[in-house]
């Protein structure tokens, strides 16, 4: 990225008050007929942050994004952008721009005209439009493509043009609706890195909608996890991975083994098979919980060879999956199965199917999640 001048030119004016959220959502509900798409969510997105709304399809994340953009209006609640109430303001009156899922480039305009469209609508003069549009195209490394038609571009190139078309308007918040969904894996990973560094460079608040948890973890400063119109948890990737708020989040972010049990005291959970685990939990005594054990946090040992200080369960190796960089063992306990992931190091002891082993972990490596 060489266009640092362009970058500074595209940055929004710094907000007068650092504590005003870029996007403030208070009790926003959206109903389509009888269907509640978004159910009374509260959320503050900070200035300059890369925020991901993550969830399975139909969870309300895109509707939330469209409400910020003004393409849908909330049924109830308050929505502010840098302190300004925008609840029912039409999209053309909001300081935000959107990168659409399928880019939505105008097929009858060339790349430069596409990028300049927003400026043209804002009555910017022609030479200024060309200058700023070209700059924005340089920023996304599409300067050489200015006179192409959209249908002459590959998916990744269209994606860059869509990005330039939004950024050229110097939005205070950039909204991205699954922008990488149509790209193949390799390009997708490249664009993830690029988007992230672009966001750092410009300092614009990015709100990113995705159903891909890995993408959200890679790119975001904070993630909001949605399900059935509710916001289940908001936090940094680390917080969400390490301390998931509930069973759904634990399962949705990364992979995990959920061991059913009941809280016996603040540091003991009684598992479904009767075994007692020492693990800290803030859930009320007697409540049904699950203990989330990530596959990479567990180790395998020969039976009865577990080091002191580690919790363990006995089992039998059911399947062995070789992944190259790791080996995943599926372990049959007498009441459930567990996945254990072992990094493929030369020192690692390999087990094979039907081996009788013990699975162990450090007490602080697991999290207790509510149902």
């Amino acid at each position: 990225m060489t266009a640092s001048n362009a970058a500074s030119d595209l940055s929004p004016a710094p907000s007068s008050d650092g504590s005003t959220p870029a996007v403030g959502i208070r009790g926003i509900t959206k109903r389509f007929g009888d269907v509640v798409a978004v159910d009374a969510i509260d959320l503050s997105i900070h200035d300059g942050e890369f925020f991901a709304l993550l969830g399975p399809s139909g969870c309300g994340k895109t509707t939330t994004l469209r409400m910020i953009a003004g393409l849908d209006f909330p049924t109830e609640g308050s929505l502010t952008i840098f302190g300004q109430e925008v609840g029912t303001l039409p999209p053309n009156k909001r300081p935000v721009n959107t990168v659409f899922q399928n880019y939505a480039l105008f097929p009858h305009m060339n790349v430069l005209e596409n990028v300049g469209f927003g400026l043209k609508m804002q009555k910017v003069n022609k030479t200024e439009i060309v200058r700023r549009s070209s700059e924005a195209l340089e920023l996304v490394q599409m300067g050489a493509m200015a006179s192409r038609q959209p249908n002459q571009l590959s998916g990744g190139q269209q994606q860059r043009v869509a990005l330039a078309r939004a950024l050229v308007n110097r939005p205070k918040v950039l909204l991205l609706d699954e922008p990488l969904g149509a790209l193949d894996l390799k390009l997708r990973q490249e664009m993830q890195t690029e988007l992230k560094s672009l966001q750092r460079e410009l300092g614009i608040t990015f709100v990113f909608v995705t159903h891909d948890q890995e993408e959200a973890l890679t790119m975001s400063d904070r993630i909001g996890i949605m399900k059935d119109g509710n916001l289940l948890q908001v936090g940094s990737p680390e917080e969400i991975y390490e301390a998931p708020a509930n069973r759904f989040v634990a399962d949705f972010i990364g992979q995990t083994n959920l061991l059913e049990g009941t809280v016996e005291s603040s540091d003991t959970v009684c598992l479904a098979n009767g075994a007692r685990l020492s693990v800290r939990s803030t859930e009320p005594v007697g409540s049904a919980v699950a203990v989330s054990l990530r596959p990479e946090r567990a180790l395998l040992h020969d039976r009865d060879d577990v080091p002191d200080g580690r919790s363990s369960l006995d089992g039998v190796v059911q399947t062995v999956t070789y992944l190259g960089n790791a080996v995943v063992y599926r372990i049959a306990l007498d009441w459930m199965t567990l996945d254990v992931r072992a990094e493929n190091r030369p020192s690692m002891k390999r087990y094979s199917v039907t081996d009788e082993i013990s699975v162990s972990w450090l007490p602080q490596a697991v999290a207790v999640v509510a149902q």
Binding site: G70, A104, H108, A144, M145, R165
Partner: protein
């Protein structure tokens, strides 16, 4: 004939049979047209007899005042009814394609009616409607209106709207509606989004619909004949009346001119529809990157 997907060409009798069939179809389609054109140059008062080459009938066409008047009426009717039905038909198409409202299905069905019902039925309906309307206007306001130019234009508008809206709707349906949203998002008002995005993209449909409406208006005999009054005859209706008076090759010449006009319009409408026939390219799978 040797495209890679085509199966083995039929051989022997099948092939001969198919070829003959094709030629018969062509003869059936085009022989009458050819005959009409040829005999429009025939120097004989009898329509079907060749009497040597002449341009007299075209000259007569140019000099006949009645024909001139009906031709001018035809063109004015066609022009006005096309403009009006294009505006109304496009608006109807936009309403049906972009919005949901009460009674949308009913409206949708009613819009197709003029395409389905027979011309004669439509003509009788129009005749009744205009007689009643003019009688009522006469009784209430003392307006001495009679059937004529206005009633012809109105009835042509009535059937053209359906055709225009069908053509425009097909175009709209193929347009990605995210494009309009993208325009709103890029600070366009509703009107600007329509003017800069929607209109250019559906323009081929609108032009196609307009040419279709114009062709239908220029060709219509049945409905026009029912709703026209004395002194307001369109060209096709005039030609029809010529036949009853006794046929001269003048009719041939008039028909050739009308045929040429119709063919030109239809060809133009096809061209318009083909231009930019893919409103939204599908993003291709990524192979390279900048």
């Amino acid at each position: 004939m040797s495209s890679p997907t085509s199966p083995v060409l039929p051989r022997g009798k099948t092939r001969i049979g198919l070829t003959m069939n094709a030629w018969l179809v062509y003869v059936f389609f085009y022989a009458p047209i050819l005959l009409l054109v040829v005999f429009s140059f025939s120097n004989d008062r009898n329509v079907g007899r060749w009497g040597g080459f002449t341009l007299d009938w075209y000259r007569a066409f140019g000099e006949n005042e009645e024909i001139q008047q009906s031709l001018s009426a035809s063109l004015r009717v066609a022009l006005i009814s096309t403009v009006v039905s294009v505006v109304l038909g496009t608006m109807a198409a936009l309403a049906l394609e972009r919005f949901s409202f009460r009674g949308k299905k009913v409206f949708d069905g009613l819009l197709y009616l003029p395409i389905i019902i027979p011309d004669v039925t439509m003509a009788v309906m129009m005749l009744l409607f205009f007689s009643q309307l003019f009688d009522a206007l006469d009784a209430w306001f003392g307006l001495g209106l009679s059937k004529g130019f206005t009633s012809i234009v109105l009835s042509h508008v009535a059937f053209s709207i359906s055709f225009v809206s069908v053509v425009v709707r097909a175009r709209l349906a193929g347009m990605n509606d995210q494009l309009e949203q993208a325009a709103f998002d890029l600070y366009a008002s509703r009107w600007q989004a329509f003017r800069h995005i929607t209109l250019p993209l559906i323009a081929p449909g609108i032009i196609g619909g307009a040419l279709l409406a114009m062709t239908l208006s220029l060709d219509d005999v049945v409905i026009t004949q029912f709703v026209s009054g004395p002194g307001s005859t369109t060209l096709p209706v005039y030609v029809f009346s010529l036949i009853r008076r006794g046929v001269t090759p003048l009719i041939n010449a008039v028909s050739v001119v009308m045929l040429a006009a119709s063919i030109t319009l239809v060809a133009l409408s096809l061209l318009a529809d083909r231009a930019k026939s893919s409103p939204q390219p599908t993003p291709s799978k990524e192979t390279d990157n900048a």
